[in-house]
């Protein structure tokens, strides 16, 4: 057992704050790292110590292994928590920590390398009887082989490049002719980009749900699954809303898939927290997609329905402790929904929106949790990703949870940047969402983006009188409060002059 007394978080924003909070509860000292952009950020203020690691660009700061390990050594940190994104799934970073005698809070580098190889994961899954999406056994460099595989598994099929992640380079083929065309184009693209055209063919499943299971395994071989999260509502393969439990998982399916997760974890000797992702077709068949060997953005959803603090659990496991409960101790309680608030303008094709946030009002109330780095006067940087806050609501059932998060969205006020709050408001009232009719094409299927504009306008409609009164007030105040209804100051030059003298305004 190694007592961890000081943890450095190799990250920023809300997840860095999350780690610091867990450290506080455990009496562990916290170390923050920051780039020039983040010198005044909340995580720097809250940590016990903070080290400057470079200029704004991620490559020279949060992705710079040498500088981070250096800060670790200087601060005397026993362990490093990588958060999510940045170096969280970088096996070389895990090795570097180990070489420096610093505990990496997460899986081993071997596990990370294995999880990063989707083909290897599928092979092991098949071996232990976990269903995977019907696909080619390995990568194909020949169109005839691709056609053979497609014949066997049945059209339509997806053609994917073995390289390039995050949803890039995926093509659909409905029949052999289309497959030959797409294979030709795809291989050319891949050869141009990566020098090789390693493709694989996978069965296309329509109307799929993305359902993932939370996993934790300790160094003594104890593994538990902390139920599922439904993450189907996505845009361009980025999750927007997550929730637990999933409407598509019943009392029989949950322990069955959970059992697969534990079996897989044991088979590959997984350590610490991770997530096993599945897709679920319209017949409720589950297929393994991949393993994420890190703590995820949406982990609070699981924390809310289980009462388990996953950060503290991760630190315990990294210290060599056993998981302090059994699978049978875990109970799924109530319903939790998370809305990812991104600094993007949904009315302007999700254009990024960075800049100062002079004022903000974070919602509170029963069952509301907000993980954020925002505070009045902070700045949302254009150098990092657009997630500014995670708004969560817990309720005894889905409806209570939904109403709570809807009210919280209405209370949430962020000045200075555009956010996806109007999009979430539109979804929370959408009949399909309420009915649980979710799939990864949810936004398109129910034309949610078209509804966002009308939801945003509806907010203004109630305020017509207030808006007109405010506009009228402006002229009244500009004239120094001596105005009479029948007098019209028709000299516009005078008006703007007085205004500049009396007011300083604007952002």
């Amino acid at each position: 057992m190694e007592m961890i007394k000081k943890i450095l978080t190799a990250n920023r924003g809300e997840i860095a704050i999350r780690v610091i909070r867990a450290c506080r509860e455990l009496g562990i000292k916290s170390v923050a790292v920051y780039s020039d952009e983040d010198a005044q950020a909340m995580h720097v203020r809250l940590a016990d110590e903070a080290y400057h690691i470079g200029p704004p660009s991620p490559r020279e700061s949060y992705l710079n292994m040498e500088r981070i390990i250096d800060a670790g050594k200087k601060s005397g940190a026993d362990a490093i928590h990588p958060g999510y994104g940045f170096l969280s799934e970088n096996a070389s970073f895990v090795d570097a920590c180990e070489k420096s005698g610093i505990i990496f809070i997460g899986p081993t580098s071997e596990t990370m390398r294995f999880s990063g190889d989707k083909m290897a994961v599928k092979t092991v899954a098949k071996k232990i009887g976990v269903p995977v999406v019907p696909a080619s056994d390995g990568t194909l460099d020949d169109v005839e082989k691709a056609v053979d595989v497609a014949e066997k598994i049945g059209y339509p099929v997806l053609l994917k490049s073995a390289f390039g992640g995050g949803g890039r380079g995926i093509r659909l083929a409905n029949d052999e002719k289309q497959l030959r065309q797409e294979f030709e184009m795809s291989s050319m693209e891949a050869k141009a980009a990566y020098g090789r055209a390693a493709m694989f063919v996978e069965k296309f499943l329509p109307r799929i749900r993305h359902i993932e299971f939370q996993l934790v395994r300790d160094s003594h071989g104890n593994a538990v699954y902390l139920f599922e999260r439904e993450c189907s509502i996505q845009r361009r393969y980025q999750k927007l809303i997550e929730m637990a439990p999933s409407p598509a998982v019943d009392e029989k399916t949950r322990p069955m898939v959970g059992g697969w997760v534990v079996k897989l974890a044991n088979e590959i000797n997984y350590l610490n927290a991770g997530t096993v992702e599945f897709i679920c077709d319209d017949k409720r068949n589950f297929y393994l997609i991949e393993i994420n060997s890190r703590l995820q953005v949406e982990h609070p959803v699981t924390e809310l329905i289980t009462g388990v603090d996953l950060l503290k659990l991760q630190i315990g496991v990294a210290s060599g402790e056993s998981i302090p409960f059994k699978q049978s101790d875990l109970k799924l309680n109530g319903c939790a929904i998370e809305c990812r608030i991104n600094a993007e303008d949904p009315l302007n094709d999700f254009a990024p929106s960075s800049g100062p946030v002079p004022s903000c009002i974070i919602p509170y109330g029963p069952g509301i949790r907000v993980d954020t780095y925002l505070f009045p006067g902070c700045t949302v940087s254009g150098y990092y990703d657009s997630l500014v806050a995670k708004l969560l609501a817990w309720g005894r059932d889905f409806d209570e949870s939904r109403r709570r998060i809807k009210n919280a969205l209405n209370e949430f006020y962020i000045e200075g940047i555009q956010t996806t709050i109007p999009l979430h408001k539109a979804i929370m009232d959408d009949p399909a969402f309420i009915a649980g009719d979710l799939s990864t094409d949810y936004l398109d299927r129910f034309k949610i983006l078209e509804k966002v504009e009308s939801v945003a306008k509806a907010g203004a409609k109630d305020k017509v009188d207030a808006i007109v009164a405010a506009a009228l007030l402006h002229s009244v105040l500009v004239r120094g409060g001596n105005s009479n209804s029948t007098e019209h100051n028709t000299n516009k030059w005078k008006e703007s002059g007085r205004f500049t003298r009396n007011f300083s305004y604007g952002i």
């Binding site: 302007n348 800049g355 017509v464 009188d465 007109v468 009164a469 506009a471 009244v476 105005s483 009479n484």
Partner: protein, 170 residues
Amino acid sequence: MEFKIEDLAITLNAEVVKRINGNEMIIKIGDKEHKLHVICCNSNGVEFMLDNSYHHAKYMHVNSADMKLMVDGNLVTVSKYAELRAIAQKSSAGPSASTSQRFLTSSIPGRVVSVVAKPNGEVKKGDVVVVLESMKMQVAIKAHKDGVIKELKIKEGSSVSRNDVVAIIE
């Protein structure tokens, strides 16, 4: 005074009917009267009670024709004298309108990833002129009209702020 709420396409007449004292007044919006009580007014905006409801307004941008303001968290554009301006606009359509639109501005703050258009090159409305990067996303700034690139105000690697001029198109 006539006000048009641009986003909702609603036009209403509003005026002060009676001043009770420095902070209180009766106003008329359309044909309904309301009590207006100014609670506080400073550089952060104005807080007021309209009948029995609390409201907060912040004036973001004001000029003689219109104003952009934030009322209870809703960003709206209100134009004044809408009728007058519509008449004036109809009679002044012509070259003056297009010269003021020579400037192509950026809709977001960001860094220039690539300059697609060439100086003196022809562009059609909608053609990509420059690609910016912000928050790991790429955003294309497209030509707002057909024309010729008279000048490119940016180069690869430069930083732009929102509303900065990126090109002049004639």
